[in-house]
Subunit: 342 residues, 2 copies
């Protein structure tokens, strides 16, 4: 059973309820909708759901996007986000999906579920489409921690590797650290320390070196590691570049009748490309390093994005990664301590 | 007269000589080719140039891409890069263009020309295509300085603003600082300190706040400021995303005959889009904060990229920005000192 914060996201509750209903009907997922019971039941009726086709757990409050995450979590004890985590903590739910205030999701996971042993800071795993390789790379951290230590970067890499291997099914994930060049001498003090630790055989991962911004989409790396500031800039720049390129293409096409006709012939292919780069198809970003399963969905999540985030949370929950993630974090501690000692 | 490092770049000397010849013939620019005289004269003959149509200044050595920039500059006293800067220093040339080892170009500029007064660290101004606004935004620093102080970030912003205004002709450039969100509380300690200084009226620039990765292409910002590590990741991620999107589009189109026919109808428009996002059309990245004009061209520069870099260097040199850049750097010192005092 996955607890869905049915009040979270720009298009909630319409998109959340529809996404959940589809996930239940099309993929057989067990979901509990958390939020204002009256509104959620009304949405379910509107969508033609049978009575009690999906369980609803009432929560009287909502964390707004403008709320301070930590404060909102403490004060709004009956908020949909917090109640989701309470259900997870009590064992009633195996995971949480929310498209709401992502800071509050992070705070809720930390406050209610708590960190896994040995984990210095949990991180968020973003998803980058790639041309080759597995078709997707995991970006850790995509924004939870702006100022990071080498230990944190190393732990992000090792936890991201566990996720890529166990949940995404990549047999031997190639791990990279983001830098401004491929040579070992590039990067900052921080990236050099993290790379030196990951390069050791004891890291037990396939460390493939530094990855430059231009190579994150090649498929040569399955796990792309960086601090949350750089990760956020990287992910949003990629989104922005693709958006701008698409807009430019659209304008150019619309400026010519012949090109417009050409675009019509390409419609199916353009749609395939759109799907391939669209966050909707990924749906959510896993929170790695907490005692439980949490998936952060995009604030603008459509029902399709919610559907995919719910599937992602289910896949994550089924793997029971807690032990492996804690072991990875512990290995990170050893690698960085060795380094400090040597 | 612009001194061109005719030996620098993957396609040199063929691309450099052809770019220079075209710049001379098509745009009337005065250029001196610097490098192995025999090879350069042979290239000129191959291209049908008249004797002495372009002057050649002999330089017997070349800085290789794998060379250590600082060492190469000191040891290879007759390298084409170094000789270019010597010509600039002596006043024979008004500026330098090189597609060679960019670290060596930076080292040469610092070592031979020297920093401008008040400038803590020079930076490199990259160019990002934008949908709205001026069509191009200046990214400072795109990679010269990986670890930065708030003073440096503020000076990059103020020098970038001078360049956007005086060379690119943007009447009142809007300046942004890269962060992981638009709200003032976002970012790191470094970005918050830089933003606080730039926000003061005494900065004398139009500070438009934080800019997220997704908004760098919108045209809402003319000068986009960040440390050289983040700037390099941002620029290369944008390049990589556009490349990957293009590849994906190509593959999808080739998988269908109907789509291939459609693409043929769109050929002229696709070419326009390619030109719009191509570094060839920009040609070079100005080095800001040294006593002279230096333009760093892409290592893979074609003759068209060299032609555009030469034009860019000429435009930069004609503005005689030294005083304005030094004044901007001084204003940066005052803004950050005020901040430290307050």
């Amino acid at each position: 059973m996955i607890a869905l914060d049915a009040m979270g996201g720009d298009l909630a509750p319409a998109a959340t309820v529809e996404g959940a209903l589809r996930a239940h009907r099309e993929r057989g997922l067990q979901i509990v909708l958390v939020g204002d019971e009256q509104r959620l039941r009304a949405e379910l009726r509107r969508l033609g759901a049978a009575d009690h086709e999906l369980p609803v757990h009432h929560a009287s409050e909502v964390v707004e996007m403008a709320d301070h995450p930590g404060q909102a979590l403490r004060r709004k004890k009956d908020s949909s986000i917090r109640v989701c985590f309470d259900l997870c903590k009590s064992g009633e739910a195996a995971g949480v999906v929310s498209a709401g205030n992502s800071g509050a999701v992070l705070a809720g996971a930390l406050f209610v579920l708590g960190r896994l042993e040995h984990v210095d800071r949990p991180c968020i795993g973003g998803s980058l489409p790639t041309l080759g390789g597995a078709g997707r790379a995991v970006l850790v951290d995509m924004g939870a921690n702006v100022d990071c230590t080498a230990l944190q970067i190393v732990q992000f890499a090792l936890m991201g590797e566990v996720y890529a291997r166990r949940v995404l099914g990549v047999s031997r994930p190639r791990v990279g650290v983001v830098a401004n060049g491929e040579e070992e001498g590039k990067g900052t003090e921080l990236t050099r320390a993290a790379a030196a630790a990951l390069r050791k055989p004891e890291s037990a991962v396939h460390f493939a070196g530094y990855v430059e911004g231009k190579d994150v989409f090649s498929g040569d790396f399955d796990v792309i590691t960086t601090d949350g500031f750089t990760g956020n800039v990287l992910l949003k720049t990629a989104e922005g570049a693709v958006w701008a390129f698409g807009q430019l293409l659209k304008r150019q096409i619309q400026s010519s009748r012949v090109a417009t006709a050409g675009a019509l012939l390409m419609r199916a292919q353009l749609e395939q490309v759109r799907r391939r780069v669209d966050y909707e198809e990924v749906g959510g970003a896993p929170l790695l390093g907490v005692q439980g399963v949490a998936m952060i969905a995009h604030g603008r999540s459509t029902h399709r994005a919610i559907l995919n985030a719910l599937s992602g949370a289910e896949a994550f929950a089924q793997q029971h990664l807690e032990e492996d993630l804690a072991a990875a974090a512990r290995r990170g501690e050893e690698l960085v301590a060795q380094r400090a000692a040597s």
